[in-house]
């Protein structure tokens, strides 16, 4: 096809025209092969400027347009829309950047003018080889998967379900609720965690748009944005939940006691159990690892007492497959283990507890019914030390980051302890107090002023046991003196880490984690709830340590991103993707290892191995193209020929 390119040179007021001699440019470009029209205007992006381009496309029957003006970052879309309005494919329009890259950065008028001409010629050469493209469109399965049934997953699932879309919620333990269900009262309002959480848990269970798979894990994920296929492993619970009414007789009669995970090891549970009384769904599971029958082959007491015949020792893991269009990852956190901190006894001292254990001691439904009794002897501690930044902000030995919630929950712990033990003495050791949420600073002030919590600025260097008491060695860095403090109980504000198993999950989802194992967002400022993989969103502590309000906000943000997707008829994708000349492809597979998006795969076509492109996954980076040893792989509208022609044009003298 004979090319008929139109070049439109913008003065940008005097921004271009004062350094680049526009008339000279237009004269030079008019003569250039393939160019049938060149024209200038003061403000090409203005309405008359745009009108001029539209008119010329029709009058001159142009096959391509070059707008020589500012950076394409600014106006590429504008001029492509203008081109489209005239019936010319928008991908046949390109911008030549003669402002930022020429008139603004150079002073010499003659040199700048020559350079502007060269830049325009380079882009004319590109446009000559530009194909007509249409954005790719893909259908969307308007159903979402939410992984993790903590407060982040619950919020996200409810938001999406309330908007009228189906949600599959997968939770690895037998009840939803997550860590929030373990908390006593929440800062800064001291409302009871259960009171605000359990209604939401019930809402999830009863929601007509939510399908809950509890005691389940993600086994495999395939597909891509809008069209994921998810294989879910339903772990054997050995209880037929359709028959079980949750009477609890089996639990009562079970002879095996093990440490309860929900009570953070401070109380026992049975081998057949529901994690906590308010569990949703409230159905028991058998812990195969500890069950006497599974260990010894004898017992089956639960089976004998169950009138409903709900115990099924022969049950096996089951699998279901679901198709979803979007995935929200809300896998939460776990607390960094006390055993990692040698100088604080590494878990040897019963009365050195972590924050979640203290939550259980404070909880009205906890092992002590809300009375503060220390684990070793059940005595009420008269002096309690709270230590912040344990494992956090310690790049040499532990975690480099701030765990964000410890300052606040330790203030809350000290306050609630004082409420329960009015003559008790709470002492907080801190490095800095970080109280940057709404009402948080006031809360810390209240702990100090009304509840007389003592704050000592200093890191605790050692904790050891002496005569049934704990001894803390520290320093008061404000008074400049060493401190040796004897107390009855120590609460450690441990670092927060990503949940175990997230690594494996991220590999299945093909999303990234940072150096600390937290999920990586697509952009730290502008895309904070998207992963780099289209269609996969992140929420809650899986992303970084955060408190409940931030978690809920982020979960709703992730949902709104899902809903933004579901609000479209189909997904549109940039067509500047990689493509393969199948005659040249040898099927070596180099491209597959180079693609960060899993967009390349080997297929057998007519007995020949071909590395194909899953266009919808391709982000158009071009890594695979540069790596293809056969030159079989090319990029739409930036193929090798185009780049080589552009380079030649840059190098041509004159």
């Amino acid at each position: 096809m004979k090319q008929r390119i139109g070049v439109f040179v913008c003065h940008c007021g005097i921004n271009i025209a004062s350094t680049v001699q526009i008339e000279r440019v237009v004269e030079a470009i008019k003569e250039y092969p393939g160019v049938v029209h060149a024209e200038d205007y003061e403000y090409m992006c203005s309405d008359p400027g745009q009108g001029m381009i539209r008119a010329r496309i029709k009058e001159k029957n142009l096959t391509g347009v070059v707008v020589a003006a500012c950076s394409p970052t600014l106006h590429e879309l504008t001029f492509r829309n203008v081109t489209a309005l005239s019936g010319l494919n928008p991908y046949r329009c390109e911008m030549a950047n003669i402002r930022e890259h020429c008139s603004w950065i150079h002073k010499d008028v003659d040199k700048a003018t020559k350079k502007a001409i060269k830049i325009i010629k380079t882009i004319v050469e590109k446009v000559k080889l530009n194909e007509e493209l249409t954005p790719l469109s893909v259908p969307i399965t308007k159903r979402a998967l939410v992984i993790g049934g903590g407060i982040a997953g619950i919020q996200s699932a409810l938001d999406i379900a309330n908007a009228g879309y189906q949600v599959i919620l997968v939770e690895k333990s037998s009840s939803i609720g997550g860590h929030m269900a373990q908390l006593s009262e929440t800062f800064p309002t001291l409302d009871c965690s259960q009171c605000i959480l359990t209604p939401k848990m019930v809402e999830v269970a009863q929601h007509k748009n939510i399908k809950l798979y509890n005691y389940a894990e993600i086994d495999d994920v395939s597909g891509y944005v809008g069209n994921f296929k998810v294989k879910i492993r339903l772990k054997a619970s050995y209880v037929d939940w359709s028959k079980c009414v949750g009477c609890g007789l089996c639990i009562e009669k079970c002879p095996t006691k093990v440490a309860s995970e929900f009570e953070q090891g401070l109380a026992p549970r049975k081998a057949i159990y529901v994690p906590f009384p308010q569990a949703v769904p409230n159905k028991p599971v058998i812990d195969r690892e500890h069950c006497r029958y599974f260990k010894t082959g004898k017992c089956r007491v639960c089976e004998k007492v169950c009138d409903l015949d709900a115990i099924k020792f022969d049950e096996e893991d089951d699998f279901v497959e679901e198709e979803v269009g979007a995935i929200v990852v809300a896998t939460g956190y776990e607390v960094y283990g006390v055993q990692n901190i040698g100088e604080y006894g590494a878990g040897r001292y019963k009365d050195v507890v972590d924050g979640l254990q203290f939550e259980r001691l404070l909880s009205a439904s906890g092992p002590t019914n809300g009375e503060i009794r220390r684990p070793s002897d059940g005595q009420i501690p008269r002096r309690v030390a709270f230590v912040s930044c344990v494992g956090s902000r310690d790049p040499e030995l532990h975690k480099p980051y701030c765990s964000k919630v410890c300052c606040m929950y330790l203030a809350k712990h000290a306050m609630l302890y004082k409420h329960r033990v009015p003559d008790g003495q709470p002492i907080i050791f801190y490095i800095d107090i970080r109280s940057d949420g709404k009402g948080y600073e006031e809360f810390v002030q209240r702990a100090q002023e009304e509840d007389h919590v003592t704050y000592i600025r200093g890191k605790v260097s050692k904790i050891y046991e002496d005569n049934g008491e704990l001894v803390l060695l520290s320093a008061d860095t404000l008074a400049g003196m060493p401190i040796e403090l004897r107390c009855d109980l120590v609460v450690l504000g441990m670092a927060i880490c990503p949940s175990s198993g997230v690594d494996e999950l991220t590999k299945k989802l093909k999303i990234q984690t940072d150096a600390n194992g937290f999920l990586t967002e697509a952009h730290p400022k502008l895309r904070p709830v998207e992963s780099l993989t289209p269609g996969i969103f992140i929420a809650g502590c899986a992303h970084a340590p955060k408190d409940i309000p931030d978690t809920v906000a982020q979960a709703s943000a992730a949902s709104s991103k899902v809903l933004e997707m579901f609000g479209q008829k189909e997904l549109s994708h940039d067509p500047m993707v990689a493509w393969v000349d199948e005659d040249l492809c040898s099927g070596c597979g180099v491209c597959i290892s180079l693609c960060p998006y899993d967009a390349r795969e080997l297929e057998i076509k007519e007995g020949k191995r071909i590395a194909t492109v899953k266009e919808i996954l391709c982000e158009g980076c071009g890594s695979c193209i540069a790596g293809c040893p056969a030159g079989a792989c090319q990029q739409r509208n930036l193929d090798d020929k185009q780049v080589i022609r552009m380079v030649e044009t840059v190098l041509s003298r004159g």
Binding site: Y597, D640, V647
Partner: protein, 136 residues
């Protein structure tokens, strides 16, 4: 040699270094004009053959720029670029091309100043080297 005006090709990735070049202009910095920018989506798109081809056709210097390591918009494209450019440098001398004629630099979108400094330094180096004498 005094009036030698080198011909330099600069590859910029769309997200970081192209934006840095834009910023240099927006901030009205001044750079030597003996170069033209070719925009790719990612520095990872730059086939070493483009560079050899450019030298064969008379480029006095080629500058490859991209996002800083770890900042790539496409996860890790610039690491691939770095590998390719290191290998290419080894090959250049076999073609009788001074390896100083190829430079690879990481320039973030906020580093307009670094863009200009890199251009001026690089063109300065090329001026000292003189015009390219073809591939041997």
């Amino acid at each position: 040699m005094q009036d030698f005006e080198p011909n330099v090709v600069v590859f910029c990735c769309r997200w970081c270094s192209y934006a840095a070049a834009d910023l240099a202009g927006t901030s009205r910095m001044t750079a030597n004009p003996q170069f033209v920018v070719i925009r790719t989506m990612c520095s990872g798109r730059i086939d070493p053959e483009f560079i050899l081809d450019a030298f064969a056709k008379g480029a006095d210097g080629v500058l490859v720029t991209g996002c800083h390591p770890g900042d790539c918009h496409y996860v890790n494209g610039n690491y691939k670029t770095r590998r390719r450019m290191l290998l290419l440098e080894e090959v250049l001398e076999q073609f009788g091309i001074d390896r100083k004629r190829l430079r690879c630099e990481w320039i973030s979108a906020s580093e307009g100043g670094k863009f200009v400094k890199t251009i001026d330094e690089f063109i300065g180096t090329i001026k000292k080297l003189g015009p390219i004498d073809g591939i041997k």
